[in-house]
């Protein structure tokens, strides 16, 4: 049982590391700021979830588990706010997305 927990946690931690790497590669590969932000989204969400879940399995039923849970909750609430702030700042300062399809479904306010 003990070794099963450790193995699962190892797998989750390695998976988290792989996702962080993937996000990093995406940030280098994608063409402009907006698409790069999407790549960073992988490191923001699933990579964090995997890494923290792996650490939680190692922590067992303790206060550390609660703290890891707090880290996860706070990241889930603050992540989108910072992403949105970045995107909005870029958009307002006139940076238009590269190679973009036409804007669709404009609001019909006259």
């Amino acid at each position: 049982m003990e070794s099963l927990l450790i193995w699962t946690s190892d797998v989750l931690l390695v998976l988290g590391g792989f996702l962080l790497l993937t996000g990093g590669i995406g940030i280098l590969r994608f063409p402009d700021l907006y698409t790069r932000m999407h790549a960073a989204g992988v490191t923001d969400t699933l990579a964090v979830l995997c890494t923290l879940a792996g650490l939680m399995l190692l922590a067992g039923w303790s206060l550390v588990l609660a703290k890891l849970l707090f880290v996860m909750i706070f990241l889930m609430f603050t992540g989108p706010v910072s992403s949105h702030a970045l995107a909005k700042a870029a958009y307002n300062s006139g940076l238009l997305p590269k190679d973009c399809d036409a804007v669709g479904g404009e609001p019909s306010t006259g």
Partner: protein
Amino acid sequence: MQASTIRSARHSLSVVVTLSALWLLNSGFYTPLILGLGFVSVLLVTWLVHRMDVVDHESQPTHFTLGIFPYYAWLLWQIVLSNLTLIKCIWAGNKSINPCVAYLPSSQKTDIGRVIYANSITLTPGTVTIDVQGEHLLIHALLSESVDQLRSGEMDRRVTRVE
């Protein structure tokens, strides 16, 4: 007046409970002195935020029903799914993406409902909310399919149900 007093008492109580839980779980030292100091800090912070007039239905959404938890579970699953799509795109390279920008309607009535919807869109990788203009959200998506998916309105409906 009466109703608003009750409501504000409920929001302040919610602050006390949240802060106490946060403090107890982060401390780990349960001697009378430390507990007493923690209690005083909680009361002090509650008084401060009450004076700052930021304790309301937006910072303490006590009116949300338990329906928010199934929504979070569903959202978590969506996050996993869109991560898988995105990972494929990253390793497949730039030819596999077709970024696009689009306006999406949102059917939420309250500001906080719209914030939940916009943040859910940003939280799922592959789509970011750039701006909120009245009832419309400006979205940037890595794949135009994810805009079509959002346009089908499932996430919108689910958020409206919990708001």
